[in-house]
Symmetry: C2
């Protein structure tokens, strides 16, 4: 592989000159420029990004640390997150180093990556890496709040409890009182937060959220989220009749809609359906179009990237954003029938 030295020699100039021809950092005479380009062409020379990075201590690369589930399937959330990060970074001329390797927080394994800053997904409790990044002065933004909280670290996150509460209030305002909640898998913190939020909304009206109104997704029991929604409704509607269903995701809601159809229930006339997040961007294409919460994973990613860009300019900035997901009203909810 041709190096800057080879080019300098062939063109009869110094390597400094070659360097500046390519980087345009200082003006080089037209004669020399021509000879350099010609020599480079002949030799098949292209500047080496690594050597350059080492010299100028800048890579124009952002790191994204995000372990991938062992089954290799990224959720729609992760995908949209990546998308947001990618787009925002591209705007600023940055590329992205995707690090999906299992995490080591053995300090003796840690290395200073070829990036100018990093975005880290789902930090663990007492995550040692946060401190390591601080030590080496690497700009860092978390997606998901640090635990314990730390006023010095930047992050973006959304407020799942608040969100579920809002959804609850919305349904209550329509007069729904018997609400079936098809929650996420019980081992996810988000499931906990959402149940808490929905319960809070009910509590505001002096109503409880009895356990039998809450179901949880389970990988073992359900073939897919859609299947989960379908079965859950079919089974519970036998013994009780709800007027509203809060589904974990739009895919779960897809199953709910199917079950409703089979039971001869019209949505939204007989049954209101609402989803707490969108897995598959299909909400607006369902029949009827689904009222749901836009989790804006994409926004989360974009904001994280934007904050990172700021931090790279000025190491002192600290941003802690709670991204408010928004409720998108479509046609699957209606006033309670009487």
């Amino acid at each position: 592989m041709a190096t800057i030295d080879d080019v300098a020699k062939l063109a009869g100039v110094s390597k400094g000159t070659v360097s500046n021809v390519f980087s345009k950092k200082r003006p080089i005479g037209p004669e020399a420029t021509k000879r350099v380009f010609e020599a480079a062409r002949q030799l098949g020379y292209y500047p080496n990004h690594i050597a350059r990075s080492l010299a100028i201590r800048k890579t124009m690369i952002a790191g994204l640390r995000m372990p991938i589930p062992k089954d290799g399937m990224m959720s729609q959330f992760e995908i949209q997150m990546i998308n947001g990060v990618l787009n925002e970074c591209a705007k600023h001329g940055f590329r992205v180093l995707l690090d999906t390797l299992p995490e080591h927080d053995d300090p003796n394994q840690f290395t200073v990556d070829p990036v100018d800053g990093v975005i880290m997904l789902n930090p663990r409790r007492e995550d040692l890496r946060i401190e390591m990044y601080r030590q080496i002065g690497m700009p860092l933004v978390l997606v998901g709040r640090p635990d314990p909280m730390d006023p010095g670290v930047s992050y973006v996150d959304n407020d799942n409890a608040e969100l579920a509460c809002e959804v609850g209030r919305y349904l209550l305002s329509f007069g729904h009182e018997s609400i079936l909640f098809l929650n996420a898998s019980s081992d996810m913190t988000v499931a906990f937060d959402r149940e808490r939020g929905l319960a809070a909304a009910l509590a505001e009206q002096g109503m409880p959220l009895p356990p039998e109104q809450v179901m949880n997704y389970s990988r073992e029991l359900h073939r897919s989220p859609t299947e989960y929604g379908y079965r859950a409704v079919l089974e519970t509607m036998k013994s009780r009749s709800y007027t509203a269903v809060v589904a974990d995701t739009d895919r779960v809601a897809l199953g709910v809609l199917r079950a409703a159809r089979e039971l001869g229930l019209n949505v939204p006339d007989d049954l209101s359906v609402i989803a707490l997040s969108n897995d598959a961007r299909l909400a607006q294409e369902m029949t009827p179009p689904l009222t749901c919460v836009e989790l804006s994973a994409e926004m989360l990613g974009a904001q994280a990237a934007q904050i990172l860009m700021e931090k790279m300019e000025n190491a002192n900035v600290v941003r802690q954003h709670t991204v408010r997901a928004k409720l998108v009203f479509r046609e699957s909810c209606k006033k309670r029938p009487r």
Copy 2:
């Protein structure tokens, strides 16, 4: 930021020793090892990946060049491709540098990236970059075939014409003769290939594929692929009655199913529906479950990555794989009603 020199000084050893303590490339005495780790801890020293890469000429990073549509929305195809690449790379301990920046093929802009090899999506005609990578000896694998063909470059691709032909044969074997083809946007080469393939299947039975049986998606005319499928069926079924619909994607098929429902047509009894690719992994969750082609973008990505790993071992290997997408039979197609 602490460097290897600082550590060496504080620990009272040479930098070579420090280097070897971290890399374990040669054994270092327990005394020295302890002093080095202690000094490193005190100083907050972590090895610099860039400097290391420069010295050993290896990064353990694979490059993925893949321009993103200006609207920032990656298709499911691209997403799954990335997923495949990521997983396969992770298996081999590689990380991935995602380069979504607009492409420059100005040779004077080209740079040797901090990667050990690259996967390049959708090469252009006469793509200059292929030659540049060859010149610097960078292992390269394309996703999508090079044009013009080049026996020296490795790639993976799938055979869209063949696929569409197979789908055509399948429907014909069920006795369907009036087939509506809801094709992709006409400016995509894949749309061209698919139409050719379907026409070939019909030609085998001495039948034509008249233009009025083929429609094309259009960003301007249709709000979404689902909307496209919905409207197309509603409108064409007025004047003609088809017994089968070939949809571009599962999302288009979703609209077709809805339209059929509204028209009182039972799928598959009255109308067979089949999709040529899956955008949204929802085929199996539709009612009825959709027969469709699994494009295996994920496999495409995984295979590209695997070939890249091979090439990094041995620069001489050349692999040219046509990944055969597979038809997945579910319940949306049936023998033609008579």
